[in-house]
């Protein structure tokens, strides 16, 4: 009986010793707030079938960081990251209270700059242009049926009125997250528009 008690204490100690509080997390991560408008879109509220909702980004590698002096070189910080990724969702109203995500084939996206793929959300990649030292994205999302639509940027983030752009770089380099306010969103983080 005594042996069993000792073994129970021993196993409890093993379980307890495998837990830790301080060493979890991701320590190569840096989140910063930068100027608004890194990602923009046309605030047209009425479209026709066949039109594209175009999202655009064209931001410098040198960014003003809130609360700091000096421009932050995001390209050098990230070990020359070639891409910054962000996500957004386009939904259509299906009844008074419900919205459905619009799925289109990747080949239907009008990719002019950067890259994008579509699933539960649009995954956009702003590509670095070494000529003018900017990250660029210009992708049109086809609007293929009539209805009430909305656009939001909160799928992979906690913020409603910001877009979060995350650097894609080597594991040992700093992962930089840029928070940038997006214009034309309401207080819930949506931009509403119609397709007629």
């Amino acid at each position: 009986m005594k042996k069993i008690s000792y073994l129970a204490i021993l196993f409890s100690a093993i379980l307890f010793s495998s837990c830790d509080t301080n060493d979890d997390g991701f320590y190569n991560n840096k989140i910063i707030d930068v100027n608004p408008g890194l990602v923009t879109f046309n605030n047209t509220t009425n479209y026709s079938i066949g039109d594209y909702l175009v999202l655009d980004a064209d931001f410098s590698r040198y960014q003003t960081e809130f609360g700091q002096t000096g421009l932050l070189d995001i390209y050098k910080t990230t070990g020359n990251a070639e891409f910054f990724a962000f996500s957004y969702v386009i939904e259509r109203k299906i009844n008074a209270t419900e919205w459905e995500t619009i799925f289109v084939d990747d080949s239907q996206l009008q990719i002019n700059k950067g890259n994008a793929s579509n699933g539960a959300y649009v995954y956009g990649l702003c590509k670095y242009n070494s000529t003018d030292e900017t990250y660029e994205y210009n992708v049109g999302f086809p609007l293929l049926s009539t209805g009430n639509y909305r656009l939001s940027f909160g799928y992979n983030s906690d913020s409603t009125k910001n877009v979060e752009l995350r650097s894609l770089n080597k594991p040992k380099d700093i992962k930089l997250n840029l928070n940038s306010a997006v214009a034309n969103l309401d207080n819930s983080g949506y931009f509403y528009f119609n397709v007629n």
Binding site: I9, S17, D20, D23, G70, L71, D73, T77, K172, I174
Partner: protein, 188 residues
């Protein structure tokens, strides 16, 4: 299954049949942690001095150079990389037997390693974030439980599980340190 049970019974008999006083007369023991060596490339060597009244004292020294832990540190899964520990300890045997017994220990740990943080550097109007690696050291206190058995009156096999908390520098050092091992030793 039957054969395994018989083998275990025989094994247990061999262990218990050893001369307990012969073991008691041997007051010193060196051990190496084979579990840490295999799993985490950690060299862990211990010395223990036995006294007559079920108490013993000892010193454990660890040095770690694990490729996996270094990669985790470099890739940001941890912000500290433990490299060394010097652990003096006091033990008390919880069982009466000398050939196999449970024990409890309290220990202190002088431990240290590398610490990584992200800093902002500004130069000529532009800034970058970069990682800065420095060293840390701390003192921890903790306790362990273990089980030890002897073969041939001198060869020790020891299982040990314990943990302790760093006390002085937890901004940089890990909150908790663990003492888990399977040790093979020689008592003389």
């Amino acid at each position: 299954m039957k054969k395994i049970l018989i083998a275990l019974l025989l094994f247990s008999g061999i262990v218990n049949a050893q001369n307990e006083s012969a073991i008691s007369n041997k007051k010193n023991e060196f051990r190496v942690d084979v579990l840490s060596a295999i799993l985490s490339s950690k060299i862990s060597i211990s010395y223990e001095r036995f006294f007559a009244n079920d108490f013993s004292v000892g010193l454990n020294v660890n040095y770690s150079d694990s490729k996996k832990l270094t990669e985790d540190f470099e890739e940001g899964y941890t912000n500290n990389l433990a490299k060394y520990e010097v652990n003096p300890y006091v033990r008390y045997a919880l069982s009466k037997g000398k050939t196999n017994y449970y024990f409890a220990e309290i220990f202190t740990s002088f431990n240290g390693g590398d610490f990584k943080e992200i800093i902002r550097e500004e130069n000529n109007g532009t800034a970058i974030y970069t990682t800065k690696i420095s060293t840390y050291s701390d003192i921890a206190a903790g306790g362990s439980l273990g089980y030890k058995m002897y073969f041939k009156e001198s060869i020790a096999l020891e299982l040990l599980v314990g943990f302790g908390y760093n006390l002085l520098n937890t901004d940089k050092s890990p909150d908790k340190i663990t003492r888990v091992g399977i040790n093979l030793g020689y008592r003389f």
